[in-house]
């Protein structure tokens, strides 16, 4: 629409300026980020490092007897994921894997120290009335960590503050 205050004034209208502005040039290619969240920033390496740190934290927590650390880690992940608007389809597998990796690392550490974890796994499975295979007890153990993390994630996402831009 024309500006009424400029109507009839000299120089207000010039030929060649009445049409639509020329098309903008092709914007430069946007840098590639993992599609964890729209508008997310940060490198994949950093994210991987963060996951490893979380897994190590969970492992140490398990070794000192804090069995609920996977839940707390999941909770923190949930809060962060809501704040950072991470996609659930990415955040859920991530916290579950991190929690399982944490407890798995703890078992691995004990085995490296010479403890017969494989034999004990078989005993645990047998006493629990499960098929007496080491893999069964290990799987159930990691599942316990994963379930905690998943529950924590859900709670964190439900309670966490939204991203300001969101």
């Amino acid at each position: 629409m024309a500006d009424l205050r400029r109507l009839g004034r000299r120089g207000s209208y010039r030929l060649g300026r009445l049409g639509a502005p020329p098309p903008a040039g092709k914007p430069p290619a946007a840098p590639h980020y993992p599609a964890w969240a729209p508008g997310h920033r940060g490198s994949a390496g950093l994210w991987l490092l963060a996951c490893l740190a979380a897994a190590a934290f969970i492992a140490v927590g398990a070794l000192v007897g804090s069995w609920a650390i996977p839940f707390l880690a999941g909770l923190a992940g949930g809060v962060a994921s809501r704040h950072g608007r991470w996609r659930l389809r990415v955040a859920l597998p991530a916290v579950v894997l991190v929690a399982a990796a944490g407890w798995g690392a703890a078992l691995w550490w004990l085995a490296l120290r010479g403890l017969p974890e494989g034999a004990v796994a078989r005993v645990i499975a047998a006493l629990a009335g499960l098929p007496a295979q080491a893999a069964v007890a290990i799987a159930v153990t990691l599942l316990v960590a994963a379930i905690q993390a998943a529950a924590g994630l859900w709670l964190g996402r439900a309670l966490g503050p939204r991203h300001p831009a969101g």
């Binding site: 004990l110 034999a119 007496a132 905690q148």
Partner: protein
């Protein structure tokens, strides 16, 4: 709105997950705690590591103690005094067998449900009703704290508690505790005495009078006593052939908490060994039979092996010309429920005045079977009747009372609260009469008078035996032994041998003790056989003494000690042992080992000839002929590869069934109420084995061969029929030619885990043997009872013994440990391992230094 719902749902799910993982729900354990890699069930891995030399601090020790382990984990404890030795033993037992000890303690104290949930409740109620805990408390109350037994129990408990404190501090518990979250409480002397009670129950508590009641009610008194006589026909091979002396009745020692004792009963003749049915005082009414069935239902719900079922054990000794390179030799192999871990923990104890090596029972201080510097001993169960049931006279108008000796008496009541994991606590009130606890009020109020409920200073006796130097001290020590009655076989470094059947043999003046008896007073236990008159021998002229649970005394023995029904072994094992030993001289330990491993079934040797004779008189199919050919020339060896053995065993079962099955069916014997005690099958009713063997060889026209209402039959005709049935059975089961029917395809040994987890046990594994072989296998085609420890001790000179032994399993209960089942192969293959010397020191790769 959606967000609120999401928050609430997330909170709810999170709370549920955390609560479930923190607390568990019902049978589901607290999975978060249980599976935490650092502090849950995984921590038991520490106990699975190979032991290594180390120094340990044990509070309560007065002086340093050293413990040397062999490569199989057999420990030799060297201490400066007895208390330190027993403290160290308690620590070792707990460190290597805590689960086993705690499960046994829970069993005896009625605390299984606290760990296992509602499934353990029936066992808890039974045990609290029977009263092992009450008896243990009475025993401890009667034990002087300054006596050797009192001090041993206190020191031992301290050692156990030292380990519990370590486990609590490190969090390194056996898996079962990490998994359930129910941890063992502190150990007390009463706990040890409860374990003694559990062992007594396994060896001494029987329900045979209840089976008699049901049999008499269904088969009738005449058939019952003909087929289940007091004294079975056949050779019994008593180790004490007499002459015997009737010394009257000895009183029962005063009991704590028992104000009235039957020992004061009026004078009168004690029932002899072969008394027939009584003068009618034991009337088996429908109410009595109903009560019997109700009590049997209780015991049927117990874990296998909880009460006494099978004859157990062999032990023998020889001296003089019978042995070479030694003054005397002793062999012992107690047959007990075979579990992993074993009931035994091998140990050598050394302290000033105490030098002993052998096997101990985790939970108890001392060595139960073994040798010291001068004597060796082993045990077999005497099998005498130690359990008597009384039908109490009650009245609806007098609740809580019973009539005894002319007056109404008030029952004593004891109440218990039983914690149940994953459920609400259960409550139990036990009524107790002068006879003992009331086991049921269904049908007829029935109580039990069990010798195992009389406080017995077994530990004091065993500690004295551990220190005895000669037969006089050995015999004097055993005078205090009450229950379970045991045949103690002896050999010493002076070349002497002997045996004593120590324990209480209850006697009544009226009534038939093999049936439930009226509880009004006249039929009460009047006392016991005086110690001087219990079966015993010393340096017998034949230079051999052997017990294999056979009736220890002959028919002229002046006292009643039990009937043929499940009380005494038929004597086939004893016969084989005596035959093997008496026909030889200059025997070495290897010769004793060959006898211990004997697979000869003397019942088979007795019956196969008449069977083959019977088969010659009938028409046989080609397959039956091929099967019969297997038995020609067979030596009765129940070898794993023997097809004849499989054929024999199947035939014998079918033969028993062919003879007695029709009678059972006609009389409607309720076999389902107690299969072990009522069903017709080999070994279930050892008296049927004996009477049928006798009829087959000496009375083939016995009327029992003719079924009720059926045609006349004789033994040969029934044998032919049973043989055909057996061949058909095996053909249908194993297929192929009869020569392929190896016994090992039918018969197995299995060693269940004490945790009841099937995968933690051993087997089933194909095996030879049967209940009548010296190397016995009890419990049916999948045997779970047999030689639990094989030991041979030779005395080449004064104070010098060479001992060897082996048991199935290993020293550690931790399945992850290299000592869990490392002795199994040696046991299975009949090999023996050197025992650490008594008072010496086993050179071993691992040495522990225990410091105060």
């Amino acid at each position: 709105m959606g967000r609120v719902f999401n928050v609430l749902a997330a909170l709810l799910v999170s709370a549920a997950v955390l609560a479930l993982f923190a607390l568990g729900y019902g049978p589901v354990p607290a999975l978060g705690r249980a599976l935490d890699p650092g502090h849950g069930a995984w921590t038991s891995a520490a106990g699975g590591q190979p032991a290594h030399s180390q120094a340990l601090s044990l509070p309560g020790l007065a002086h340093p103690v050293t413990v040397a382990f062999t490569s199989h984990g057999v420990a030799s404890i060297r201490a400066a005094d007895d208390a330190d030795a027993f403290l160290a033993l308690g620590y070792l037992h707990a460190r290597f067998r805590l689960t086993e000890m705690d499960l046994e303690r829970r069993l005896g104290e009625g605390r299984v449900a606290q760990l296992a949930g509602p499934a353990g409740l029936s066992s808890d109620k039974f045990e609290l009703r029977l009263g092992l805990l009450r008896t243990a408390r009475a025993e401890w109350a009667a034990t002087s704290r300054t006596s050797p037994a009192g001090q041993a129990l206190i020191a031992y408990s301290r050692g156990v508690n030292d380990y519990l404190a370590q486990a609590s501090s490190s969090g390194e518990w056996p898996s079962i505790y990490g998994l359930t979250g129910v941890y063992p409480g502190r150990w007390t002397p009463v706990d040890s005495l409860v374990l003694q009670g559990v062992l007594t129950q396994q060896l001494d508590y029987t329900t045979t009078p209840l089976d008699y009641a049901i049999l008499e009610r269904t088969l009738g008194p005449a058939h019952t006593m003909a087929w289940f006589p007091v004294l079975a026909p056949g050779q019994h091979n008593p180790y004490d052939p007499g002459p015997y002396k009737d010394r009257g009745i000895a009183p029962i020692a005063p009991q704590a908490g028992q104000p009235v004792l039957a020992a004061t009963a009026s004078a009168g003749a004690v029932k002899g060994p072969v008394a027939g049915p009584g003068p009618g005082s034991n009337r088996i009414t429908p109410q009595v039979a109903a009560a019997a069935a109700a009590i049997l239902a209780q015991t049927d719900a117990l874990p296998a092996g909880t009460i006494h079922q099978y004859p157990d054990s062999n032990a023998w000794a020889a001296n003089g010309p019978k042995v070479a390179g030694a003054k005397s030799m002793l062999a012992g192999d107690p047959h007990l429920p075979q579990t992993v871990p074993s009931i035994w923990y091998q140990i050598a104890l050394s302290a000033p005045g105490l030098s002993v090596t052998g096997v101990s029972v985790p939970g108890l201080p001392g060595v139960l079977i073994g040798h010291n510097a001068h004597i060796a001993w082993s045990l077999t169960d005497t099998q005498n009747q130690a359990t008597l049931f009384y039908t109490e006279r009650t009245s609806k108008s007098r609740p809580g009372q019973y009539f005894w000796r002319g007056a109404w008496r008030r029952m004593r009541q004891v109440s218990y609260t039983i914690p149940v994991r994953g459920g609400s606590a259960a409550h139990l009130t036990v009524d107790i009469t002068v006879h003992g606890p009331v086991m049921t009020q269904a049908g007829q109020t029935t109580s039990v008078d069990w010798m195992g409920n009389i406080p017995s200073p077994d530990l004091a006796v065993m500690l004295a035996v551990n220190r005895a130097h000669d037969f006089a001290q050995f015999r004097a020590a055993l005078a205090g032994w009450r229950a379970p009655s045991q045949n103690f076989v002896y050999a010493d470094d002076q070349g002497n041998i002997g045996a004593i059947s120590a324990g209480y043999y209850p006697l009544v003046r009226h009534g038939d003790p093999w049936l439930p008896m009226p509880g009004t007073g006249a039929d009460d236990v009047a006392g016991v056989i005086p110690y001087a008159s219990v079966p015993q021998v010393y340096d017998p002229p034949g230079h051999v003494v052997a017990t294999a649970n056979q009736r220890p005394a002959g028919p002229s023995y002046p006292y009643y000690i039990g009937t043929s029904a499940n009380f005494f072994d038929p004597g086939y094992r004893a016969g084989e042992i005596y035959a093997s030993l008496q026909g030889r001289s200059r025997m070495h330990p290897a010769d004793f080992a060959a006898v211990q491993l004997s697979l000869t079934d003397r019942l088979a040797q007795q019956i196969v000839p008449p069977l083959l004779a019977a088969l010659r008189g009938g028409h046989l199919t080609a397959r039956q002929q091929a099967a019969a050919a297997l038995l020609h020339g067979w030596n009765g060896a129940m070898a794993q590869s023997s097809a004849a053995a499989a054929l024999w065993w199947t035939f014998w079962g079918d033969y028993l069934d062919a003879v007695f099955g029709p009678w059972w069916k006609a009389a409607k014997v309720p076999v389902h109420k107690d299969r072990a005690g009522l069903a017709v099958s080999p070994q279930n009713q050892v008296s049927l084995d004996q009477v049928l063997a006798e009829w087959t060889t000496a009375d083939p026209a016995n009327s029992a061969f003719s079924p009720p209402g059926g045609p006349h039959r004789t033994a040969p005709a029934v044998m032919r029929s049973a043989f055909a049935t057996a061949v058909a059975h095996l053909g249908a089961t194993l297929h192929g030619a009869p020569s392929s029917w190896a016994w090992g395809r039918l018969h197995f040994r299995q060693f269940p885990s004490v945790t009841q987890a099937p995968a933690l046990g051993y087997g089933p594994r194909a095996s030879g043997a049967d209940p009548w072989t010296v190397d016995a296998a009890d419990g049916g085609l999948v045997s779970h009872q047999g030689p639990s420890w094989r030991m041979i001790v030779a005395w080449p000179g004064h104070g010098t013994a060479t001992g060897e032994g082996v048991y199935p399993g290993g020293q550690s209960e931790n399945p992850a440990s290299p000592w869990y089942s490392d002795q199994m192969a040696d046991w299975w293959d009949g090999r023996y391992l050197p025992m650490p010397p008594a008072g010496g020191y086993a050179a071993g790769p691992v040495l522990w230094s225990l410091r105060p």
